[in-house]
């Protein structure tokens, strides 16, 4: 079956992304497809390339990235939710006159419409939120 995940919690601060990551591996292990992960609300922090947990801890951004690299899972981040919370891509940074940015591929800033598209492409949309 085709699954989509909606992740609306910040890593470390909320359990949602940690549960979502475990669930993502479990659906793949059962032979399902993961059509995409959409990050909304505080979930946008999962994409931050400046996230720096202590060295003996899992970097959850890297874990999402690995999921993309190994299984081609698109990682879409709601642009409105992200900008408000300080998660910015290179092109958005340029548009706002910033020299720095903290979101890069495979994460993509996109509109909320992408969430609706994901839902229509999937048989199952599972939400992880706190």
């Amino acid at each position: 079956m085709d699954y989509g995940l909606l992740v609306m919690g910040a890593p470390y601060s909320q359990p949602a992304p940690h549960s979502a990551l475990r669930f993502a591996h479990a659906i793949l292990a059962r032979g399902h497809q993961l059509a995409g992960v959409f990050f909304y609300h505080d979930g946008v922090h999962n994409a931050s390339s400046l996230m720096t947990p202590p060295q003996d801890e899992l970097n959850i951004r890297e874990a999402w990235k690995a999921l993309h690299e190994q299984h081609g899972v698109p990682l879409d981040v709601c642009i409105a939710a992200a900008l408000r919370r300080g998660v910015v891509s290179e092109s958005e940074a340029a548009r706002h006159g910033y020299t720095a940015f903290n979101l890069e591929a495979p994460f993509e800033l996109t509109g909320l419409g992408q969430l609706l598209t994901l839902q229509q492409r999937c048989q199952r949309l599972i939400t992880f939120a706190n």
Binding site: M1, Y3, M8, P15, A16, S19, R22, F23, A26, I27, A29, R30, H32, Q123, R124, L125, I126, T127, F128, A129, N130
Partner: protein
């Protein structure tokens, strides 16, 4: 038929809202903070028979409630069982 996924403690607002939404034939899966329900076998959700209720094994173990759940003979699923529930129920709603 809906799989209701609850992530908060048994007496939270979200838990009470899930209860308003659940229909006979639905199922309730308790994950994250919600697994503390394993400590309280007297909760309404354990006494009703309209819908099955499951605890997520991995979250029980992490919090140290696995023995309590098995002592009270409460139903658990592991993460693979969670996936199976989402196969079985066409829709899911997460309450948080």
């Amino acid at each position: 038929m809906i799989l209701h996924i609850l992530t908060t403690a048994p007496l939270s607002d979200a838990a009470r809202q899930a209860e308003q939404a659940i229909n006979p034939g639905d199922a309730l899966l308790l994950i994250e903070e919600a697994v503390s329900a394993a400590l309280q076998p007297d909760l309404d959700c354990w006494k009703q028979t309209d819908y099955p209720v499951f605890l997520l094994e991995e979250d029980l173990v992490a919090r140290g409630f696995a023995n309590a759940a098995s002592h009270h003979r409460l139903a658990t699923v592991d993460i693979e069982g969670f996936v199976q529930l989402t196969e079985q129920y066409e829709q899911s709603i997460t309450w948080y």
